[in-house]
């Protein structure tokens, strides 16, 4: 009987430990949303959308009373809309400027690091460019692939609109603020850029490194290929943080969502989607 008593005590102790371990899930995991209801409006940078989508699906799947709407529009739109109170979280693929932070009273939360890479169609033989060649192509000074060793076809340049954080980072760091030809065709998001370049064998464009997949081919810039490793190590210079901005210090459902992104679970999603986690 002594043996049984000991076994029972040990068993009880073991069960108590398991119970404690199970119930103390990571403080910012999916369970913190329990009991919440309402709508969370998110908009802005399109590079953030894949991660936002998965995070939102996890939250909405576990808690059907919560509705999360995600829109694009670009970093500029995200900052403006959150500043005006049209959305609770405004994503931006560039750090909000001091003027913007002051004007809207923004709080910034960075949850990933990303790069902006130049991409072409996978069948394009051109695989490497120097900064100067890149600037010439986007300005329209080089307009045929044969000047770079490719086929004798005109280069179609794709670019983003003024609101895009991806564009402003690319323009500042890769193009050194050089001109972009007015003949460049416009696409409205990173996803649209990928689709456009993947469909057109003579295209060149730029997009978030996290979006790069086998349907497009990254171009090495001054010898450095834009991918997860080079962005992480800092070797690839054209990089930026992915921010979620709120008006004032974040509260409520938005706070829980941003904490979820910064939690181990959220950071795993970030890594899976091809970005560099901050934790």
């Amino acid at each position: 009987m002594k043996f049984v008593f000991n076994t029972t005590k040990h068993l009880a102790w073991l069960m108590a430990c398991c119970f404690i371990l199970v119930s103390s899930s990571p403080a910012d995991g999916i369970n913190t949303f329990t009991g919440e209801k309402g709508t969370l409006r998110i908009s802005g940078g399109t590079a953030h959308i894949p991660v936002m989508k998965i995070a939102a699906q996890n939250v909405m799947g576990a808690h059907p009373d919560i509705q999360i709407t995600i829109a694009g529009g670009g970093s500029g739109a995200g900052i403006k809309q959150v500043g005006e109170g049209l959305v609770q979280i405004g994503n931006s693929g560039r750090k909000a400027s001091d003027a913007e932070i002051q004007k809207y009273g923004l709080s910034l939360y960075k949850w990933a690091i990303d790069g902006v890479g130049t991409v072409v169609h996978p069948e394009n033989p051109v695989k490497a460019l120097t900064s100067e060649q890149l600037q010439d192509i986007f300005a329209g000074r080089i307009d045929n692939w044969k000047a770079l060793g490719g086929p004798d076809r005109a280069i179609t340049v794709y670019t983003r609109d003024a609101s895009s954080g991806t564009r402003s980072v690319f323009w500042k760091k890769a193009l050194a603020k050089g001109a972009i030809s007015p003949k460049a065709q416009f696409v409205a998001s990173n996803g649209a850029m990928k689709t456009a370049v993947a469909k057109n064998p003579y295209a060149i464009g730029y997009m978030s490194v996290g979006y790069i997949d086998p349907s497009v081919a990254p171009i090495s810039l001054d010898g450095v290929v834009p991918d997860l490793e080079t962005v992480k190590s800092g070797k690839y210079k054209v990089s930026r943080g992915l921010y979620s901005n709120t008006k004032g210090p974040v509260t409520g459902l938005a706070e829980k969502f941003i904490n979820y992104l910064l939690s181990p679970e959220g950071q795993k999603i970030v890594a899976k989607k091809g970005f560099v986690p901050v934790h």
């Binding site: 699906q57 829109a71 005006e84 409205a188």
Partner: protein
Amino acid sequence: MKNRSAGDILLNTYAWCCALILTSAVLIIAGYLVFHGFSTLNLDLIFAHTPVLEALLLKKQVFGGLLPAIAGTLALIFLSISFALPVGIAAGVFLAEFALPGTRKILGLMFDIMASIPSIVVGLSGFAVTIFLHQHFFKQLYPCLLISALCLAFLVVPYIIRSTQIALESLPSQARLTAPGLGATRAQNLWYVLIPMAAKDIVGGVILAIGRSAEDTAVIMLTGAVATAGIPGSVFSGYEALPFFIYYTAAEYADAAELMKGYGAALILLFICGGLYAFAYWIKKKVR
């Protein structure tokens, strides 16, 4: 006995060529769409991984399926027609029954313009009004289902006005004389005699309006449609819609599976609009 000359042969050849060009263009497009999209038409397209019953009872959200977009489009149609129908019929009745000739001319012109305004201008106005109200009066107001429905109502009201007016004007004169001859007022005559008689023709205009609400993209792009929203929780929230999904997929599909969903969505929207058109055609045939 008809004479035939070289001119006839030329004219007929030209006519046949044009008819064949147009017909083959339509067949190529329809064929391409059906060919690529038919294989995707199954419950998976709409419900993805969520069990059908739970999705329909709103117990679980659908991710990766078209149900939210279809629900959004249906909600839009319902709301916009609820706004447009009473207003459209009232205005049409006024034009046909009570307006003086001068008024009729002015109003007719205004409604012609209303029917021709580009939908993006309507969307931009709706968006601008929303921002204006948001900044000055209602901090809680954003582009949402309600705003989109109101803008769509503005877009389709002219169809209903026009068909009501034409329907009432083509009623035989006995309809206006019989009941009043027995003591009914004009209003009673209108409500109990004229409108029921004209109902079938009015319905034609209403169905046209429904079709327009279902397919319009420019208005909803600017007033509340987003790429990801789930089933709309209230009229003040963002929502998804079929035509927006199709546009968005064409611009940025992440992989072949998403592209296939785009084809499926295009087919579904085509079926909805085609079905509405066939229904209107059937009703018109019944009138004869």
